[in-house]
Symmetry: C2
Subunit: 309 residues, 2 copies
């Protein structure tokens, strides 16, 4: 079966861990980056020596299954890098469809998925969708404090990694598994955070995964209808709107930095844009412990700010 490691790490560490297992110097990798985090994944693969080809994806859009399959066909790609939820734009890739098309087009290509800001908030079925690596973290939809990274690796990934010389000791999932089977950790675990995760996962199991996904979709819809009423525009198209995070262009007469500052004055912290969206958007996480009333309060504040102009 799959091996799952829970590391003292951030989500970025898990992208590095996935790369250290799947990338070999000189090997070809296809990146489908539509934003900062997809770009980070590609940069990691490059630093581990891969020859990275980039499929162009517009910010707010997601890669199309057939386009990915076309690029993979006959390309001898060792790995495909996907970003489930691109946190910088709020666009959610249809990983199921892309992975199915990719597997058919190039059966040997390892499929690596950055699920940092989606795991727990949107369906992602690693085994059923035949994904080779899922990288995630504690502090997003799982609602645990930051500090834990989660990496799930398929038997295919572990087998390929065993033959690779990419350096990995801290990240090594096979070593993690050997230790886990002896009820040990390969090095000091962040026990305080593991207790928190235990509670969070129990809550999630009690709620049910389907219910948790539906709850996140409802939060997204609440937020997107709210900003539409204010004339603000989400970066991600409706067809690929992430249930966990939305990047918003504040619209005419308003400046993203000003909106963020005005929200902060009201005790509400939201994030700014990254990369080409710097200064262009504000970003709202509606996941994990976020409740409808939190979004109501945010939307009321945004209405005030928009009215003031």
């Amino acid at each position: 079966g799959y091996e799952v490691g829970v590391y003292p790490s951030s989500g970025t560490g898990m992208l590095e861990a996935a790369g250290a297992h799947a990338v070999d110097p000189g090997g070809r990798v296809l990146s489908c980056a539509g934003g900062e985090f997809g770009g980070r994944f590609a940069a990691i693969a490059e630093r581990f020596g891969a020859q990275v080809d980039r499929l162009h994806v517009e910010p707010g859009q997601v890669p199309d299954p057939e386009t990915v399959a076309e690029r993979l066909r006959g390309g001898g790609y060792r790995a495909l890098l996907l970003t489930h939820c691109e946190t910088s734009t709020g666009a959610l890739t249809d990983v199921r469809a892309v992975a199915a098309a990719a597997r058919q087009a190039s059966p040997d290509t390892l499929i690596l998925v950055d699920a940092v800001s989606s795991l727990g908030g949107a369906p992602l079925l690693a085994a059923a969708w035949d994904i080779d690596a899922v990288a995630s973290a504690s502090q997003k939809a799982l609602a645990v404090p930051p500090g834990l990274g989660i990496l799930a690796g398929s038997p295919r990934l572990l087998e390929r990694a065993a033959a690779s010389r990419s350096p990995r000791v801290y990240w090594d999932l096979a070593a993690y598994g050997r230790n886990r089977r002896q009820r040990r950790a390969p090095y000091t675990p962040a026990v305080n955070l593991l207790y928190a995760m235990d509670v969070a996962l129990e809550r999630l199991e009690n709620e049910g995964f389907e219910a948790a996904w539906a709850r996140h979709r409802a939060l997204r819809d609440q937020f997107r209808s709210g900003i539409a009423r204010l004339g603000m525009e989400p970066v991600a198209a409706d067809a690929c709107a992430s249930p966990t995070v939305t990047a918003v262009r504040p619209g005419p007469g308003l400046e993203a930095g000003g909106v963020i500052a005005a929200l902060a004055e009201r005790g509400i912290l939201v994030a700014g844009g990254m990369g080409p969206l710097s200064g262009q958007v504000f970003r709202v996480g509606h996941m994990g412990a976020v409740e409808p009333r939190h979004l109501d309060r945010l939307l009321a504040a945004l209405a005030e700010i928009a009215a003031r102009g």
Copy 2:
């Protein structure tokens, strides 16, 4: 000046980070491992492609400055790996003397120090002793929950690392520094643990470093005299006894596993041996939040266990 990064990581991650900055494929590295953690450091350097030479150090002993210097002389070593406190044996290397001898014998060799179980509990002056990397962690003498790794790198390390192609994105200290100067983190920091560390460092500053070191020496002396009275023998020689941790051979008629189990029955958790010391010793951390009364209680329990035989 030195760059200091505080990462979501364990101490082992910081050994890997130090390696990723200092080791180049094919480069020669001298390891002075006298136990499991020194061996782990060497294994990491090897995995990053170094040709690792090993200086033999008996468990419970520490490397001798002149022997290290002799091995380094003319060897073209890129890096020297030292373990300040070898947590598996409780032996403390005289890093000041070894680093001074090493620097004189081979000025270009990077000096990397594993200070995971010593930082805060024993003197270690990176700049004054001209050390290139100090790796440590939150949960030992600093008395913070586990989950943070600390890496300090000298200007020499950063300059050499810039020219090296060893893969490092998550660990990259230069990127950490660029972000820090903009009051940012390169990726999600473990904020909850950073708040805990802030409190711990303030306490340490209020106590004074000299006082904290003296406190740890006193704990060590209390524990070592206590076990001597029970006829138990520390693994580390008096001349290199770590102020932070002691590995103990329980002595005739007692078996380490039995002592650990008997202590656990009394609600006292101590560690077992590692590697060749597995089953031979129990290990006691007397650092961080440990107070003399805790050691009194432990010694009383050990006296009972020894009397029962």
